[in-house]
Symmetry: C2
Subunit: 340 residues, 2 copies
DNA sequence: CTTGGCACTCGATCCCCCTGAGTGCCAGAC
DNA sequence: GTCTGGCACTCAGGGGGATCGAGTGCCAAG
């Protein structure tokens, strides 16, 4: 009973604070929300909430502000993900519909997400490991140089130049291409190492050095580059509330965002279906102590998630709306990828 | 004589203002520079410079600050590009030396440039048009779908998926690949349209629809995508002086930087060898009115420039140092591309 | 043409006071 | 036990001087 109202109060505080960006007091709260009790009662509840660490006062004679712990409770228990409006859904479809090729899809997605959430959007390229090899192409650049181009079924292309130990003739290249393709085409990238392990031995001894080199490069392309490419958009949104959010300086946030590796680690925990939220202090990176990350996995239907996307914003964020947008965009992108 | 000193004064003002970020007065000027005259004399010169529009006072009882016109004169006549120090040169070499592949070169370059200049660095991918076709690969995805992969001699790879009007057999694909390659391989991309114009007519009538479609796609890849890919780094540097530079808000700058098209237009004027500077009001884009762009072309030695790189920073910028860094990085990248 | 002197301007800073939002606590009502 | 009105208290923020000092423009003399 009383406990329930306390939670209502916390919810109201979070909502008001997100909306106004000002510490919320007991009086303002009863005016804006149908709590049915007097400010004095609310004050008691607030004192309790403060003792429990869910809210705090910037200074003695000010209203209350949610703590990271308060936002956490709000996200976990007090809010429901807000579905997008009809026009928003249609905007997403329209925006993604015209996409041509993987790069285009990823670029459109990240812009869309930034616009929709009015926050910094980050999209990871579909990871190589979980997709399958469509085709491996080799182009002979010179007698001892070969360009290896790997094409995946997600439409992704990776290239490497190989310096060969011995000269290699054009027909030997064709032979090698055919044999490697017959081994790995259609198989998941993760299986490639196993499939190719015996390949060099099937060649004449004096060709093995070359074959091994090429195989090593292919594996490198598959494994080592397991992917770290991300695209970002909407950084200008960081400068919107500027002094208000992010404790005055957006610099540490920008710095964190430039370290792509950091971002990928943030997304590491993202699950296929669920929307994951990491709030303030929960973030592993120092520069994101005043930021929250809302992320999820996306991918081809049925194949399971194979990359992540999300947004980074101030802890003072519209969580239900943002989570709704992130979830919706992830779904649509999954669909688009499945079709294209 | 007197004119000469006036220019010395302007140079001193620019240098001091860039160093201290505070309006510079006559007294401070004679203390820090060996001008050999008294503050009163300097004041007369300053009044003249102000009449001519090279400097201005933020308010009546303050020192002077250079105007855009003042910076322009400084860059054109009063400064010399500052060569990098030995350690800096070695750092560049070391940083770029380990690069593998075009993506890696571009990524390392942009980070290097951001670090060196402590500003936002932008690097355009080597443009397709001025490079030559190395190889055109075609992969049959299904009976009526073909993936076209274009590889240039700059190590760049572009892909497109084509929906064909009619089914196409595997050997027809091989034939088409051979014929297109023999036509355009080794030729500059710009020549491709001319070279391929008659190709469809050399095929049997019932195959022409497919051939035309493929040719159209290849041309599209070459021409339409003439390139708009850029990478950026160092945006956190914008938030360094924050309130000081950029008239309080870095938001319009961030917005401008997100419009890649805008950036490319900025670079459009960049010449192969010269370092181009665009100052404040000279910039075409509204959001960059308080910013300067320092850019240059870079490319393979002997082949001529084929892409641009540069940095974006506040008009209050160390022009000689920045121009030196931009020039040096462009040269090294050119070398690296020539070797790799 | 240069210089020292001088009166003047005006943003920045500090101090002080006041206001008002918001609090915690308590005694009484339900 | 829970809620409520009342009340004293706290303190950030804002406005109004007063002061300070860097920097200026101008002028008469060198």
């Amino acid at each position: 009973m009383v406990e329930d109202r306390k939670l209502d109060v916390l919810r109201a505080i979070v909502e008001d604070y997100v909306a106004t960006n000002e510490p919320v007091g007991s009086k303002a709260l009863v005016e804006r929300h149908p709590l049915g009790v007097s400010p004095a009662t609310i004050r008691n509840d607030m004192a309790a909430l403060e003792d429990e660490g869910y809210i705090t006062q910037p200074h003695t004679s000010a209203g209350r502000v949610p703590t990271d712990k308060g936002y956490r409770l709000f996200v976990d228990k007090l809010s429901t993900v807000k579905p997008l409006s009809g026009p928003e859904r249609r905007a997403i479809e329209g925006f993604l519909a015209g996409a041509v090729g993987l790069d285009d899809v990823v670029n459109r997605t990240v812009r869309l997400l930034a616009q929709l959430t009015r926050q910094v959007a980050v999209v990871q390229y579909p990871s190589l490991t979980r997709s399958a090899v469509r085709h491996l192409e080799m182009v002979r650049l010179s007698e001892t140089r070969l360009m290896v181009v790997l094409i995946t079924d997600t439409g992704r292309v990776e290239q490497r130049v190989v310096e060969l130990p011995d000269p290699l003739a054009e027909d030997a290249v064709a032979d090698l291409r055919t044999r490697i393709n017959s081994l790995i085409a259609g198989h998941p990238l993760a299986d490639a190492p196993t499939l190719m392990v015996d390949l060099p031995e099937t060649f004449a001894p004096d060709a093995r050095a070359n074959v091994s080199t090429v195989v090593a490069t292919v594996l490198e392309t598959l494994v080592e580059q397991v992917d770290e490419r991300v695209v970002m958009a909407g950084t200008a949104n960081l400068a919107r509330g500027s002094a208000l959010d992010f404790a005055g300086s957006i610099r540490p946030v920008l710095e964190a965002l430039e370290e792509h590796v950091v971002l990928l680690r943030l997304f590491g925990e993202a699950q296929p279906q669920a929307v994951h939220v990491s709030i303030g202090e929960e973030n592993p990176h120092e520069g994101l102590r005043a930021a929250s990350v809302v992320s999820t996995g996306y991918g081809l239907e049925g194949v399971g998630a194979f990359a992540s996307l999300g947004v980074v914003g101030p802890t003072r964020m519209d969580y239900p709306g943002t989570m709704g947008a992130v979830r919706a965009v992830a779904r649509y992108v999954g669909q688009v990828l499945a079709e294209g």
